[in-house]
């Protein structure tokens, strides 16, 4: 995916991304302070919102190949199981019992499969949203603070799960997180955003251990 001259203007905020490249099968992280434009950038790249100007070359990817998990996921006014299989239903794919049971198991929702999803805790809702995004095997998955309400054990479990998935069948991941531990463990490449711009980018190790950008240095001081 290649992004160039992406612009989006709001009343009190402007997003400007000159150039950004996302390669297939890699895990990317986006970090930065609150209000720096991470979510806006992600929504524009994922095609959820339209930019005022600029180009995104999806290189053959369609909307159906991508998905996004939001911090406060939208859950259907329905049961856990029907939320989980919803993307399959949209694609006229008959849910496979083995696959469904696997995702219920890894999210710990097997016993709650017939309960209404709105009754789940914040962490459970995020797990369900993540499983719902993974169940149809998208090519690109965007996660906007999708682990923020999960307990430490669940976060560790999903980090391992994602890394294991990557070793078997690599997908492209773009992850926004304020937990640098998530970014360090998962991401190969990191973008640092500040005030609507990508101020720095590079491999996770070098960027976070040897930051050259002043704003990034300041940001990492408190991380």
């Amino acid at each position: 995916m290649k992004i160039s001259n992406l612009k989006k203007n709001y009343e009190k905020f402007s997003l400007n991304i000159d150039s950004l490249s996302i390669d297939e099968g890699k895990i990317y992280g986006i970090i930065g302070p609150n209000g720096c434009g991470k979510t806006t950038a992600m929504k524009l790249i994922a095609g959820i919102e339209k930019p005022d100007s600029g180009q995104i070359d999806y290189e053959g990817l369609t909307e159906r190949d991508m998905t996004m998990v939001l911090r406060k996921p939208y859950l259907l006014n329905d049961t856990v199981i029907r939320n989980l299989v919803y993307p399959l239903k949209l694609r006229n794919i008959k849910p496979d019992d083995g696959l469904v049971n696997h995702f219920l198991e890894i999210t710990g929702l097997t016993n709650l499969r017939d309960e209404y999803a709105h009754g789940l805790s914040g962490g459970e809702q995020q797990k369900l949203a993540l499983a719902r995004a993974l169940i149809f095997s998208p090519k690109v998955i965007f996660i906007d603070e999708g682990f923020s309400n999960m307990d430490i054990e669940s976060v560790a479990f999903f980090e391992n799960y994602i890394l294991e998935m990557q070793s078997k069948k690599p997908m492209t991941w773009v992850i926004i997180s304020h937990q640098l531990s998530n970014i360090r463990r998962l991401c190969e490449h990191v973008f640092f955003m500040h005030n609507g711009e990508v101020r720095a980018s590079g491999s996770t190790g070098s960027l976070l251990s040897d930051p050259r950008d002043e704003k990034l240095k300041q940001y990492l001081q408190y991380a």
């Binding site: 959820i48 369609t62 909307e63 939001l70 939208y74 259907l76 329905d78 949209l90 694609r91």
Partner: protein, 223 residues
């Protein structure tokens, strides 16, 4: 008192139900899509259209009745259709009263929730049609409430249908206009009796609607 339950009163009950059901169905067909469209559409003067709709939601039935009367009277623009003092005229007046109510309730619900639902649909790769289906499904509680409210309004209506229907015996006399007539004649007991039947019918309709919704949910539980 029970002599009222003769063929004439059964005819009045049947006519009341026909008028109420037909006007509710037509208003639902018009009001639900209109409410959804009004939320999604962006055009100049939209707030004025919303304001007009809200005014119409509270419009006095006698005024609507008068407008329909003027349109359908022999010398009026639609006088040639010969609809005045018929069931059709009563349904037209009811539709003019009910449609803004249904449209307004659906618009308000959609305005509150549709952006989340549409964003979610995009993240799942839903088509435009699938997004519309999802929107209706997710707003089904509010749509149901709007229909029930419309039905209640249609059932209890007196002023408008008295003007355009004329309360003609064996022809356009419905339960509410009969109650009004009985009260004018001083036949209070019979008016109360008919009022109780009207309440029982309204209660029975609520029971049936509630049962159908529960049944629909049960059917949907098999993903």
């Amino acid at each position: 008192m029970f002599e009222l339950l003769d063929r004439e009163i059964l005819g009045i009950i049947t006519l009341t139900l026909r008028m109420t059901l037909l006007s509710t169905v037509i208003s639902t067909i018009l009001g639900v899509p209109l409410g959804l469209w009004l939320d999604h559409a962006q055009f100049r003067g939209k707030h004025i259209v919303v304001l007009i709709n809200r005014t119409l939601m509270a419009s006095p039935p006698v005024v609507i009745g008068l407008v329909v009367y003027l349109l359908l009277m022999r010398n009026g623009p639609f006088g040639f259709m010969g609809l005045l003092f018929t069931l059709e005229a009563m349904i037209i007046a009811q539709v003019l009263l009910l449609t803004p109510i249904i449209c307004g309730i659906v618009y308000t619900a959609s305005e509150r929730n549709s952006s989340h639902i549409r964003t979610f649909a995009k993240t799942m790769g839903a088509s435009k049609f699938q997004t519309q289906v999802l929107l209706i499904k997710e707003l089904s509680n509010e749509i149901y409430f709007s229909i029930i409210t419309g039905f209640g309004r249609a059932m209890s209506e007196v002023g408008a249908i008295m003007i355009v229907g004329g309360n003609i015996r064996h022809h356009t006399r419905v339960m509410t206009t009969t109650i009004s007539l009985l009260r004018n004649r001083g036949e209070i007991n019979q008016a109360i009796f008919l009022g109780i039947i009207l309440m029982l019918i309204a209660f029975a309709v609520q029971l049936i609607a509630g049962f159908l919704r529960k049944r629909e949910r049960r059917i949907n539980e098999n993903f």
